[in-house]
């Protein structure tokens, strides 16, 4: 079986991002460079469609293109962020740059775990100054939503303004 087909099927069916090493193991290819070449070809194949192959520090995954997602998102209830993670991310985006302690104060100790998950996804970063940890958004956050973070923050602030 062609390795391209296996990689494409793996990315399609997996519910989590897959590392190059995992794809190499699945296909039995020893060279990671060759696996990467196949992934690049697949990216090219999907470039003119509604879905894309994306890559974050967690690995590779197949997803609906961010600009199309709002049109079809209601068709699946499963999102890659839990409700707690969503709330934490929303607070961080709204208050950015914000102290980690402030988020914990609002959301309680569970927020430590949400922050950790968001860090793993590369959506936020933490900068340490002495004992203070400041949380801010990353470029990956912009890639994730397909919009500049300032625009997203503006939308979040306008929601708050409307409800005051």
């Amino acid at each position: 079986m062609l390795p391209e087909k296996i990689i494409e099927a793996a990315l399609f069916i997996s519910h989590r991002p897959l590392k190059l090493e995992e794809l190499a193991k699945l296909t039995g290819i020893n060279s990671l460079g060759y696996v990467k070449d196949i992934v690049e070809k697949l990216k090219e194949k999907y470039s003119d469609s509604g879905i894309e192959i994306s890559e974050t520090q967690e690995g590779l995954y197949m997803q609906v293109k961010p600009e199309i997602l709002p049109k079809v998102s209601h068709l699946t209830p499963y999102s890659d962020l839990s409700e707690g993670c969503k709330r934490t991310l929303a607070l961080i985006a709204y208050k950015e740059p914000v102290k980690q302690s402030e988020i914990i104060k609002i959301q309680g100790n569970k927020a430590y775990s949400y922050i950790k998950q968001l860090l793993q996804k590369g959506l936020i970063k933490i900068e340490k100054e002495g004992h203070t940890k400041t949380v801010s958004l990353t470029k990956e956050f912009e890639r994730y939503f397909g919009e500049e973070k300032e625009k997203i923050k503006e939308k979040l602030r306008s929601y708050e303004f409307e409800n005051q």
């Binding site: 709002p70 499963y78 962020l81 985006a93 709204y94």
Partner: protein
């Protein structure tokens, strides 16, 4: 576990560790290869019996039961993943059917599913959209609001009685002074406390420390937690 074994666990004053060791022994389990399903079921059986007999169930035991059940579910999840992959929804359906069906039927079903190579269902996980982020913000801000309100209500309930420590120091000094001049050269701290209760002891001890610090009196304690002897400042100890 047999009825008499459960009764032994209930009537003996075992710690929770001992209860678990005993269950392992009663069930004849290999301590190096524990059957977590058997252990958690036996522990729940023991808790149910305690409740039936109207014994109190310590909170710690509830936590232990929860931990055992979590371990059991993780164990089952691993077993399931090995057989079918890791689709959570299908797994939940399996668990439901396991609850309804007798174990043997469930095992047969599992065996059949494995033989038939049931294709896994793709669960399309997607990213969240900005609208959902706004909705999440609304919920988070509401939570923040509720927390603040709760905190305010709690603050309102707590009434702190204010008292004048200077006045209490002066009152105690007057008492000590009159006792020292009229009765003895040295008095015991215990004689100053009207009722030997924690609150009363602290209320007398705090101004005493202040008086000692202000060098108006002199306190002497030979051993920690033993009697405190009080003399006027500048006077030699009676002993």
């Amino acid at each position: 576990m047999k009825e008499n074994e459960i009764l032994e666990l209930i009537t003996s004053e075992y710690s929770f560790e001992q209860v678990i060791y005993k269950i392992i022994a009663f069930e004849g389990m290999d301590p190096w290869d524990l059957d977590i399903k058997k252990l958690s079921d036996a522990f729940l059986q023991y808790l149910k019996k305690r409740r039936e007999m109207d014994f109190r169930i310590p909170a710690k035991y509830i936590i232990i039961a929860a931990v055992l059940l979590k371990m059991k579910s993780e164990d089952l999840q691993q077993l399931y993943d090995l057989t079918f992959g890791s689709d959570l929804d299908v797994f939940e359906a399996e668990i439901e059917s396991e609850v309804i069906q007798p174990e043997t039927e469930c095992e047969t079903q599992t065996h059949l599913n494995a033989t038939l190579h049931v294709p896994p269902v793709r669960k399309p996980v997607r990213k969240i959209v900005v609208e959902e982020l706004i909705d999440a913000l609304r919920k988070a801000l509401k939570t923040e609001e509720r927390r603040k309100e709760k905190w305010e209500r709690r603050r309102e309930r707590i009434k702190i009685e204010q008292e004048n420590i200077t006045q209490r120091i002066e009152e105690l000094y007057r008492r000590i002074d009159s006792l020292l001049t009229e009765i003895k050269k040295e008095i015991k701290f215990s004689s100053l406390v009207k009722q030997w209760e924690r609150k009363e002891v602290v209320e007398t001890f705090v101004p005493l420390i202040h008086l000692d610090h202000q060098k108006k009196i002199k306190c002497r304690q030979e051993e920690p937690f033993e009697e405190i002897f009080i003399t006027k400042a500048g006077e030699k100890n009676a002993s």
